[in-house]
């Protein structure tokens, strides 16, 4: 975009065709760097077990054995279910708590609002490590070790989501709020009918962020589970890695299986994200 303007300054530039080629060459190189490891992982997961360490980049034979074995021997089905339950719960709760608190900070007037909001934001500055041990103990004392609530509880609310949505709400014209009130909408009505639809792109971003970070958690699930059945997919992958030292293709297959839900969520919400963004752009 900026290049068009630079061109107008009259400085000698390489011809347009050359720049196009150079640009695509660069993009191609970057794409290669990003995709090559994924390619080798997919290929390796499809090779028969005894051919895994053999060099050729285009395998001479394909098999889905590794996927089958990773699924059954690695108990990935159970682990995926656990991860899904936790990630969905965390995402939903974060969305609801963020919407409600953001609404309060954006539209309500109450004593000490600035201070409370500042305290809210300050929690973002506290690293996970600081609360880890205390949270572990709390969950233990509640008897929540090896439970879904134990896995999800510390992540059900996030100041990040509150902050994100509050910023969107603050942007909404005051007139909207007044008009809604004239039409007899209360707080929840306004939130549901007006604020949420307008905040949709931001909400999509929040959903993506929450889901991804919950899905990719490793340390916390490890701390609060001691039974194999309650493991999430990331610790399941670790188990697979140590259990299948002689079958690296199993680990690669497992990694692909574990990453698939993330791809799906990304694809679904990316559409929302883009649609929402363009809708916002012409709002005026």
């Amino acid at each position: 975009m900026a290049s068009e303007r630079v061109e107008a300054t009259g400085i000698d530039r390489p011809p347009r065709g050359f720049r196009l080629v150079a640009r695509y060459a660069l993009l191609g190189a970057v794409t290669f760097v990003v995709l090559f490891p994924i390619y080798t992982m997919v290929i390796a997961s499809l090779k028969p077990g005894n051919r895994v360490l053999v060099r050729p980049l285009v395998p001479d034979s394909f098999t889905l054995d590794a996927f089958r074995a990773a699924w059954t021997d690695g108990h990935l089905g159970r682990f995926l279910l656990n991860s899904a339950i936790v990630a969905v719960a965390v995402t939903l709760f974060q969305l609801v708590t963020s919407l409600l608190s953001a609404y309060a900070f954006a539209f309500l007037r109450f004593r000490g609002k600035r201070l409370v909001f500042a305290v809210f934001l300050a929690t973002l500055l506290v690293p996970v490590e600081v609360t880890l041990v205390v949270n572990r103990r709390t969950v233990d004392q509640l008897g929540w070790i090896n439970t879904y609530q134990g896995l999800a509880a510390p992540f059900l609310a996030t100041a990040f989501g509150t902050f994100l949505l509050r910023q969107v709400f603050l942007q909404l014209p005051k007139d909207l709020r007044d008009a809604a009130r004239m039409d007899g909408l209360g707080h929840l009505g306004f939130l549901r009918e007006v604020a949420v639809p307008l905040a949709r792109p931001t909400m999509a971003a929040l959903v993506l962020f929450s889901f991804l970070s919950s899905w990719n958690q490793y340390l916390w699930p490890n701390l609060v589970t001691t039974e194999t059945d309650m493991n999430t997919v990331q610790s399941g992958l670790r188990m697979l890695r140590v259990a299948a030292i002689n079958r690296p293709n199993l680990v690669w297959a497992g990694t692909i299986i574990a990453a698939l839900p993330i791809f799906v969520v990304l694809l679904v919400f990316q559409k929302h994200l883009i649609r929402g963004l363009t809708a916002g752009a012409v709002k005026g």
Partner: protein
């Protein structure tokens, strides 16, 4: 970020917008920080929790009276304790039950070893109907120790497998039923157990844990390379001097670009193996006979003998005879170096990896290397002949449980240490049977006869003299102390000064010991 120009509260919120932008920046930093933490596994909590919990959580656990004792009168756990003062082991309670009891068992066995332990659990559960054992793999030894120490009484298992370097901290929790109490109340005959295995987990007359899996480090050799160098693969180096001579010939002949693959892992080259070499040199790892005659106060890593043996290893690397493969977080790095593009001819690994190595090579995953190409020799050390400090782990029944559960846990412990179970276990894993009569039973008896590689670790342990320093050092914060030495070894293998680095590490270890003693009323 968006300025809240149209908001009715714009003027008032502006200062907070500034705050929030700063906070958002903080968030981004926080995110990347937490991300790497998540990726890094549970290391960050390890040291914090393990050093603090035994006093914080100990009192909430098991028999409260015995815990109080442990922080006051029983602190020097190396002195004699009357078994009647300890948690009782009501082994007869199992006869009175009407419904089967469930025993939760935490272990740290992975890979082939996990499969083997699961098979034993299944066999036990199928063979009787009074006890049902549920085994949970916690992912490794350190994870078992950490989780056990972090957990409240209710979240702990009923039976736990703890490695030899966790013995002292287990004693200090006061949360376990000493095996001694169970042995006495059930009249369990331990006379055929290897004495060195029992002593590893005993202090002054009290058997704390019941040894279950026993291992020692051995030399893994690629015999094809040795043959190519004109060496006899059946005669492997027995001490440091022979090791160096062998390696010089291998590298000089061009049979392999490097000879010995060395790591600095806590549980391997940076910690456990060094403990072996110190003992092999007839030296002490820590004062008061490795903490066995009185609680250790200082480690003795800066003694000339230790500096000398570490200098020998560093010299091997300097002279291109050995290659350093890092901190070995996977526990396999030193082995993988033997099958890399620049293969090392030999490495050092626990005998408990033998089952896994044979499994991998047998599966044909490594092109050009078969099961028969691997030779096993005893661990060469600074002393004239090989010796071994027993490693592995012991079983502990957890205190504060129903009598029937403790009795059930003990019943399972008896099964796991029975001659037949030990023989099967040793044959699949490469562990050494904890009792000599197991070594005479099939399948391990025929494995010992037909495949001498299985026997090396056993012979090495049995040949070890009955010396006070021949058993594992007994230090409360042993996990952290080991890690301190491993860090030092990594520095030294990376080119650091031996004497200065060891002295620094020793000072750090002494501080850990003093801190632990202060927290635990010592």
């Amino acid at each position: 970020m968006i300025a809240a120009r149209r908001s009715p509260t714009a003027r008032r919120t502006r200062p907070i917008i500034v705050t929030s932008v700063v906070a958002a920046a903080g968030l981004l930093a926080g995110c990347s920080g937490s991300g790497s933490l998540l990726d890094a596994g549970n290391d960050p909590t390890t040291s914090t929790v393990a050093t603090t919990t035994s006093d914080d959580q100990g009192p909430g656990s098991g028999g409260d009276s015995s815990t109080t004792d442990s922080s006051t009168t029983r602190a020097p756990t190396t002195s004699a304790v009357a078994v009647s003062d300890l948690a009782p082991c009501p082994t007869a309670a199992l006869d009175a039950i009407t419904d089967p009891v469930e025993v939760r068992f935490w272990h740290g066995m992975n890979g082939v070893n996990e499969t083997a332990i699961d098979a034993l659990v299944d066999e036990y559960n199928a063979g009787q109907d009074r006890v049902r054992v549920v085994a949970d793999n916690q992912g490794g030894y350190e994870a078992v120790i950490d989780k056990f120490l972090q957990s409240s009484d209710g979240s702990r298992p009923d039976l736990v497998q703890i490695p030899e370097y966790g013995t002292q901290v287990m004693i200090d929790t006061g949360a376990i039923v000493p095996a001694q109490a169970c042995i006495e109340s059930s009249g369990y005959d331990t006379s055929s157990f290897l004495d060195i295995a029992l002593r590893n987990y005993a202090t002054a007359g009290v058997q704390w844990g019941l040894p279950f899996n026993l291992s020692d480090p051995v030399l893994y050799v690629n015999t094809k390379i040795l043959e190519a160098a004109g060496l006899d693969p059946t005669t492997l180096p027995a001490n440091f001097d022979e090791l160096r001579a062998t390696c010089e010939q291998i590298v000089a002949s061009g049979a392999a670009p490097t000879c010995l693959s060395l790591d600095s892992g806590s549980d391997s080259g940076g910690g456990w193996f060094v403990e072996q070499w110190i003992a092999n040199a007839g030296l002490a790892y820590a004062d008061h006979d490795n903490g066995r005659t009185a609680p250790a106060e200082h480690v003795l890593w800066d003694e000339p003998g230790v500096v000398e043996l570490v200098s020998f290893l560093a010299g091997m690397i300097d002279d291109g005879l050995a290659v350093y493969v890092g901190d070995n977080s996977s526990g396999q790095e030193q082995f993988l170096r033997m099958v890399s593009d620049q293969p090392a001819a030999m490495t050092i690994g626990t005998s408990a990896a033998l089952g896994q190595v044979i499994d991998v090579l047998g599966g044909g995953t490594i092109p050009g290397l078969t099961v028969d190409d691997i030779g096993i020799g005893p661990l060469p050390g600074p002393g004239p002949t090989p010796t071994a400090v027993p490693g592995g782990a012991a079983l502990y029944a957890v205190a504060g449980r129903d009598d029937a559960v403790v009795a059930g846990a003990w019943d399972f412990m008896r099964f796991l240490t029975s001659p037949q179970a030990q023989s099967t276990w040793a044959q699949t894993t490469g562990y050494i049977p904890v009792r000599s009569d197991a070594a005479e039973l099939d399948p391990i008896a025929s494995a010992y006869r037909d495949d001498p590689r299985y026997r090396v670790a056993f012979d090495q342990l049995v040949a070890t003299a009955d010396a006070p320093l021949a058993v594992a050092p007994l230090l409360g914060p042993m996990v952290q102390v080991r890690a301190a030495l491993a860090t030092a070894m990594a520095e030294i293998y990376g080119g650091g000064d031996v004497t200065a680095t060891l002295a620094d590490a020793a000072a750090r270890a002494d501080a850990l010991i003093a801190d632990y003693a202060a927290r635990n009323g010592g």
